[in-house]
């Protein structure tokens, strides 16, 4: 891993379009600003990992989920009413 030391308001440039700036340091917390093109998604790592795990479990259990949905009583599902023109 590349390790760089930066002060507040100093930045790191990644590639041509991503700029990471240290905004504030308080105790063991660091506030970081990120400028990136809109097609680059930026996530907190632990949140992304959790969503990956949820997706993996959702995909892995899709067949059982589908069966459970089919068994649900209609009343419990209620009815979907779309506003006109929606998809």
């Amino acid at each position: 891993m590349l390790v760089l030391t930066r002060r507040i308001d100093e930045s790191i440039v990644i590639g041509k379009q991503i700029v990471v700036t240290v905004l504030e340091v308080r105790g063991d917390q660091v506030r970081i600003g990120i400028k990136a093109p809109r097609e680059i998604q930026v996530h907190r790592e632990e949140v992304l990992r959790a969503i990956e795990a949820e997706n993996a479990q959702a995909a892995g259990s899709a067949a059982r989920t589908r069966q459970a949905v089919a068994r649900m009583p209609q009343a419990a599902r209620k009815r979907r009413v779309d506003p006109p023109g929606s998809v």
Binding site: E39, L48, E54, A59, S61, A76, R77, K78, R80
Partner: protein, 138 residues
């Protein structure tokens, strides 16, 4: 989903996840079909890998107060300028032991209603659960 159903869906209804989705980076194109007559539950099946599918939920009947706030970067990436252009659905999973169903309200799939450009959006509201219970006493 059967091959016939995939073929019948046609290009017009293919959701394009240009960045893949977390955990499935190569899964780009998905089709939706109804699992229930009311359309509340749908299955989202990957065209690249038909074995890959998610059960998804139109969230507002089960969670009427759900009001996902689309981050600006996602609005721009999806080209969504007003809420009417957004199609929102939430992944559903089952707890294999309890048999209980949960919806992921924290990271909904959101598509532009017309272009069908889609993304799994991570909402910044940390109070939204990744597992909101969907079945109670069923």
């Amino acid at each position: 989903m059967s091959d016939e159903a995939v073929a019948a869906a046609g290009d017009a209804s293919i959701l394009r996840f240009d960045e893949g989705i977390p955990g499935f980076a190569d899964a780009r194109n998905f089709v939706l079909h109804d699992l229930t007559e009311d359309g509340v539950f749908q299955q989202m099946t990957c065209l690249e890998d038909p074995e890959l599918a998610f059960v998804v939920l139109y969230p507002w009947l089960a969670f009427p107060d759900y009001s996902p706030e689309l981050p600006e970067s996602d609005q721009q990436a999806l080209g969504i300028t007003n809420p009417a252009e957004a199609v929102v659905f939430c992944s559903v999973l089952i707890d294999e032991e309890e048999g209980e169903l949960f919806a992921n309200l924290r990271a909904p799939f959101i598509a532009h209603a017309r272009t069908l450009t889609a993304r799994q959006v991570v909402l910044s509201d940390e109070s939204l659960p990744m597992r909101a219970p969907l079945t109670q006493g069923t």
